[in-house]
Amino acid sequence: MATILDPAIGAGGEDSPVDNYLTHTHGWKSWAFTLDHKRIGMMYLVGVTSAFLLGGIFALLLRAELFTPGPTIPLVSHDMYNQLFTLHGAVMTFLFIIPGIPAAQGNFILPIMLGAKDVAFPRMNLCSFYLWLGGAVFFLAALFLGGLDTGWTFYTPYSITTNTAVVSATMGAFILGFSSIFTGLNFIVTVHTLRPPGMTWFRMPLFLWAIYGTAIIQVLATPVLGITLMLLMAERIMGIGIFDPALGGDPVLYQHFFWFYSHPAVYIMILPAMGVISELMSTFSRKPIFGYRFIAMSSLAIALLGFLVWGHHMFTSGQSQMSAIVFSALTFSVAIPSAIKVFNWLATMYKGSISLATPMCYALSFLFLFTIGGLTGLYLGSLSTDIQLHDTYFVVAHFHYVMVGGTLMAFLGGVFYWWPKMTGKLYDEFWGQIAAWIVFVGFNLTFFPQFVMGSRGMPRRYYNYLPEFEFYHKMSTIGAFLLGVGLFIALWVLLKSLKSGAKAPANPWGSATLEWQCSSPPPHDNFSHTPTVGDPYDLESTVYDPKLGGYKKIASPAPAH
């Protein structure tokens, strides 16, 4: 658990009471059985980051093995390599990127940003964290019970016939599904019933719209993952044969089941990231967000359209022509809301006063990388080019650009942005920006060569590859280690700030959303007085106060909205 901090008694800040959510109660029991959404958010943050570290180690081992065409590092045989990429995929998706922003930052920020005292069902929130922990335990158990070599997609009939610990891993993913459902359910009810007076739907910050859209997907799609994994376990234990061709079943049916959840799941991953970026863009350009309603509505549009397009993962998997055409057409419809958001963020920067603080560095790299990720999705959406590019490194590069370039950048931007609020400490701005740019360069060096490799025909999940691709693999491996270095520096910057960071003012960035109206770190009950709900992007109403080292809210001259 995070070390218990004793915040230095801040000189400034009109109400930085000694009593905040970290010092309200002490002892590990007060953390283990807490009902406070802020503590649950912090516990999730620690858990999710360690899962990311574990997944990252698998990634570096994997990339090291691919440095040369044949076997490269000792002890890594065919089977070991297959387990490395499977565990990298499974740990990263189920343990890090799906719970990442919604559970770690959403849990902490949503109630405060909404102006509520806590989420609607605090006990279900704690239960969701322990389900995440339970799921993680099952994954680690699978590690020692023979590993997992089916790919994070568990495609049948391979996942039925292999003798690795598939049942333990699927049980882990099954439990993590419930953790995700509980989080989503909690957020929908909180947003619907716990809004304070004055907080109408169109006065909510865009981060809440994004989290609300994500919660809809979590509630509607995750149960289908639950039934898919339960049927897979029944296949292995009872031999029900629905997905097993040897018993008359159909493996393509499994792919329909799996992708019906997994495509909405990629929107569970990207939507919260878009929410964070909307906040960062407005705050660090000192300008209200451009096209608020369009961004809010495109969040919901992505959430609902996300359910219509799962077939584009199966264009070459034996799916019928008619379905492929229908899915390809629908896939292009999903590209529009994302494009609207990117253009609106750009318009927000117009005539602003842009500061390159660390969160903004991550937000800008999000814009750059997510644009490439989105545009390469067009190749995979149109049918004939997808025939050539499916299951090659082009797809690997595409989804890493969208997931790492998108969600991880927004996750890091969000962590740095809310770090003063969460811990009451300011991090070292210089090293933060250095780390951000190393991560940006390292990322591009890792994944851009994979686009070229992929379109030239390099299939994915290959242990041995043809010598003609060696140059690109070498660049990609070097880039991967550079990315690793950048991420470790970022982690070091944050941890150092815990020890020796300056005391954070209530509103260091000058944002107008509610979470900056309470002290950093916030008191146990979020607001000693019910907050006055104004326009979340009325930035003229906050003025920099050098004595405070932060911004202070003044009566805004005219409702600018």
């Binding site: 044949g70 495609y155 529009i336 030239r456 299939p459």
Partner: protein
């Protein structure tokens, strides 16, 4: 020799490929490539537009003391509608072009030459019109070829980058794929659906013959292993060695005494070996024939029962050749 290294000798990459895409080896390749470059053009335009704007805004509106953000509109419905409708027109064009060439790529012309493909854990088998099976795919130039594919265990996927074709090989049903090769020479065929340990070694060579005559000539010579180039009968053991490599025995049975997934062939013929159920069996003609056709009947002690059956892929004469080859490995 490290057990993990690949045993496949890949032909060198065919000249004529561009930076992004391999050589255009089939009639459909130019169509796919032109859509690829069309989308690249659009993507480059939007990419340069967006990144250019970001850089310009960063320089122009960088936060400096004394510079306050000037008032600017917070929403402009006309602008919003324009940057939703215009891109969607481009998307419709992309979809339409992808859809039309996809329809051609998925409906084989009637009268195309049929070759049956059998994929199994980590090797390909192409069965030609005269029933002869080869681990290599030989096709004549400018003749539409349809591959009728099925798998014997898990899902594989046949991908020939040069021909821009890819289709999964699904157990429990047939899937089709067709192409019309235009470039003569040798290409590589990959498996692109994860299928287990040696997924990355499941490659095959694709040879495009210059004319139908040359292809027919190759087929005759290949489908009669018992006579060599100049018509003399080839020694049985040598034919057995060829089957040993072509039918994939090499992947699990070694000939240097070392045990791999399966027992070694070296020095086992005629000896008595213990089976998994403890009984002793003499390794004679009958045992080899039975183990090839029904491998689960008598499994050697200490080995996993994973050998697939070769029923219908090895004629009796071929099994005789393999037995002769095993005898020669004293």
């Amino acid at each position: 020799m490290n057990d993990d290294a690949s045993t496949f000798v890949a032909p060198p990459p065919h000249p004529g490929g561009s930076f992004w895409l391999p050589v255009q080896g089939s009639t459909k390749a130019p169509e796919v490539d032109s859509l690829f470059h069309f989308i690249t053009g659009i993507s480059l335009f939007f990419f340069v537009l967006i990144v250019g704007l970001i850089v310009w805004f960063l320089i122009q509106y960088r936060r400096r003391p004394g510079i306050e953000p000037q008032p600017s509109p917070h929403h402009n419905t006309v602008l919003e509608l324009s940057w939703s409708i215009l891109p969607s027109l481009l998307l419709v064009v992309m979809f339409y072009r992808g859809f039309t060439s996809y329809m051609d790529m998925r409906t084989p012309p009637d009268g195309a030459m049929e070759i049956n493909v059998n994929a199994k854990k980590w090797s390909w088998l192409f069965t030609y019109s005269n029933g002869w099976g080869e681990p290599e795919l030989h096709v004549p130039r400018d003749v539409p070829v349809t591959l009728v594919m099925t798998s014997e265990d898990v899902i594989h996927s046949l991908f020939i980058p040069a021909f821009r074709v890819k289709m999964d090989v699904v157990p429990g049903r047939y899937t089709k794929l067709w192409f019309n090769a235009t470039e003569v020479g040798e290409f590589t065929l990959f498996c692109t659906e994860y299928c287990g340990t040696r997924h990355s070694d499941m490659l095959a060579k694709v040879v495009v013959h210059d004319s139908v005559a040359e292809y027919q000539q190759w087929l005759e010579k290949a489908s009669d292993p018992y006579t060599d180039q100049d018509g003399q009968p080839r020694p049985l053991a040598e034919v057995g060695a060829m089957f040993y490599t072509k039918r994939g025995c090499i992947q699990c049975h070694s000939t240097d005494g070392s045990a791999k997934t399966g027992p070694t062939f070296k020095g086992t013929f005629g000896t008595t070996q213990k089976m998994t159920d403890g009984t002793d069996v003499v390794i004679d003609e009958n045992y080899v024939r039975e183990s090839i056709l029904n491998p689960m009947a008598k499994v050697r002690g200490g080995f996993r029962p994973v050998m697939p059956t070769f029923q219908g892929q090895l004629k009796d004469q071929d099994i005789g050749a393999i037995i002769a080859y095993m005898k020669s490995l004293k």
